[in-house]
């Protein structure tokens, strides 16, 4: 499904000093692997790895293949890959407070719109409602984002991420800001998404989250090491 070969990433600070984040990193998991947890301490590069997988970070050396095709490092091609294949969930939800829950999810639906072609509004709204139902937030369409709890906000973010029906969901510390009870709810939701056929890569420092994934990898010394 996803394969990284010889991934090298070097960070440069303002003074010009270099820090090697990934040094010949390799990652590969098959189609039957539904979820991968990437563990590591803070600053190990978990979020950077996910950004590379999302096509948001294009400054690296190495090869990135997804679904049998190499992911281009041209911004427009990377954006198209992200638009068509990837859903992203972050620790702080990244919801827009200037619109309600439904409109936030609609962003995920309409991102695949073709420029110059009118979007089928009814179909888009129906799809957004369906995603909200899926994450257990049916009835929250008109709610303002700033009135939601952490768990509800993360569910909205997940609904937005799956609204375009991506094959891969990348989640960066998805339960980092949630309590244990809410975390468990989110993990149950993730499990359901996997049963629906989606692949997930989760960056986390939480053992609880990692235990819910098929494969656990530890990011250390610029490389990924399998964890039993």
């Amino acid at each position: 499904m996803i394969r990284l070969e010889g991934m090298t990433k070097v960070l440069r600070d303002r003074n010009g000093a270099q820090r090697v984040l990934f040094d010949g990193l390799d990652l590969a998991f098959r189609d039957d692997v539904r979820s991968v947890a990437v563990l590591g301490r803070s600053g190990s590069g978990k979020s950077t790895l996910l950004r590379i997988l999302a096509g948001l970070d294009l400054r690296y050396d190495g090869t990135y293949v997804a679904d049998g095709r190499q992911v281009s490092r041209q911004p427009s091609a990377a954006a198209r890959f992200r638009r068509e294949k990837v859903g992203i969930v972050t620790q702080h939800y990244d919801l827009l407070e200037d619109r309600n829950v439904l409109r936030n999810v609609l962003l995920g639906v309409e991102v695949r719109g073709v420029p110059g072609r009118r979007v089928d509004r009814k179909a888009s709204v129906a799809r957004a409602r369906e995603c909200l139902e899926l994450v257990g937030l049916g009835g929250f369409e008109r709610s303002r984002v700033n009135t939601l709890s952490g768990g509800e906000a993360q569910r909205v973010a997940i609904a937005r991420a799956i609204a375009k029906d991506p094959e891969i969901i990348l989640a960066d510390e998805p339960t980092g800001a949630l309590d244990e009870g809410t975390e468990e709810d989110i993990l149950q939701l993730f499990a359901r998404l996997q049963r629906d056929g989606r692949h997930m890569v989760v960056a986390t420092h939480s053992e609880t989250v990692a235990q819910h994934c098929d494969v656990r990898l530890l990011l250390t010394g610029g490389r990924l090491v399998s964890v039993e």
Binding site: L11, T48, R51, A54, L56, D57, L58, R59, Y60, R73, Q74, P75, S76, A79, R80, R82, R83, E84, V86, I88, D94, L96, D98, R99, R103, L107, G108, V111, R112, P115, R160, K164
Partner: protein
Amino acid sequence: MSEVLIDLRRNVVPISVKVVVLALFFLIVATVASFATSVSSAISSAFSEETEVDLFGVVDTLTDPDAFYAFRQSTRSIQQLGAFYDGLNTSDDLTLLSAFDQQIPVQDFRGGDEFDPGYGNELSLTDEYVDATSGSVVEDVRAMQMNRQALEFYDIEVASGTSIDWGTVDYPGGKVPVLLGSAYEGVYQVGERLSGSLYLRPMEFEVVGILRQGSAMFYKGEMNTYLDSAMIVPYPESLTEIGSLDQEFLGILSFAMINADVASGGGTGFDGVADELRQISMRTGFEDYSLIGVPTYLIQFGLMRQLIVDNRGLLVVVLALLAGGVACAGTFVSLHLRARRRPAASVLWTLGWSFPRIVRLQRRLWMVEYVAVGALFALGLPLLPGVGPGAFLATLALMVVWFVVDGLVQHRLLVGAVFAVPGGRS
């Protein structure tokens, strides 16, 4: 389009501030540019150093009423006075600026109080009265009689109609062409005739032109005596060749005309002017005159020019400071707007919007802002006093430059906002 509406609704306050600040800035630029160009034009023409002259006064010395009366009864004396006037008026070394503000009684006058000689000063307004000469009901109107050289020296020009055709000034026939100040626009038309009198002599005044607004002249120590509500009555070109006029009227007219200012080019000086007058006096036999210096004209002229030059420099500095302040304010608001728009741009990019699509959205927002600036500017422009075409075009050019620069800055800020994630755009 919905993203544009959401952005406008969310950012209506900073966008409105930006639009108002920029529109006001361009309106101020247009006004000051118009002022600066008109001042430069005035300085280069009317207020240049080459236009400085020495100004002196000529007055008669017949202050004793009996002597004055006796002089006017003598045909020979009046002829000598007329010859003296003509000598001054035709001198190559002097410019005779003869002007007097004798009010004119006019029959069936259609104007309002603003044309009354007492309007706007300490005198009381006059009412209609029966003119003893004609027996008609008349009203006194403000007037200024002057010779051709005064009209030309003070650059008194018409906005409509024609200037005085001096060949048609017919005092013996009682028909005189006149110019009306700009305030007469809509009261009398070019071609109309007003019946009145000058020094009790019935006259018919034909309106041949309406003056430009703001026409003014130096008169009795006042640098800018405005003529907007005055009737300009031309003096006869010559007193010796005026034709047949009764002696009483001719005497009054002659003394009015001889009390005048004399302008001489730089370098002639008081002695030179006095010498020329002495020669004319000897030639004509008229001796009852005196020459006085009028330094106030020169001082006021110089002061006014310096005031304008200094103010022009001050205005340039003020404008530069104002422009700098507005640029800072506009930049601050633009940065503030970009910060408010950053989360949405970042989310759209993360979701997979292409960068060109995000840029198109940004451009729509930028266009909305600047169409609003242009519309507000267009609405405000007619309210400004007389912005010239040159100033307008210069302001328009500045506006285009500002729009383009702001668009480029907005684009740069957008790139930074969207690609804040390290390693985005190559």
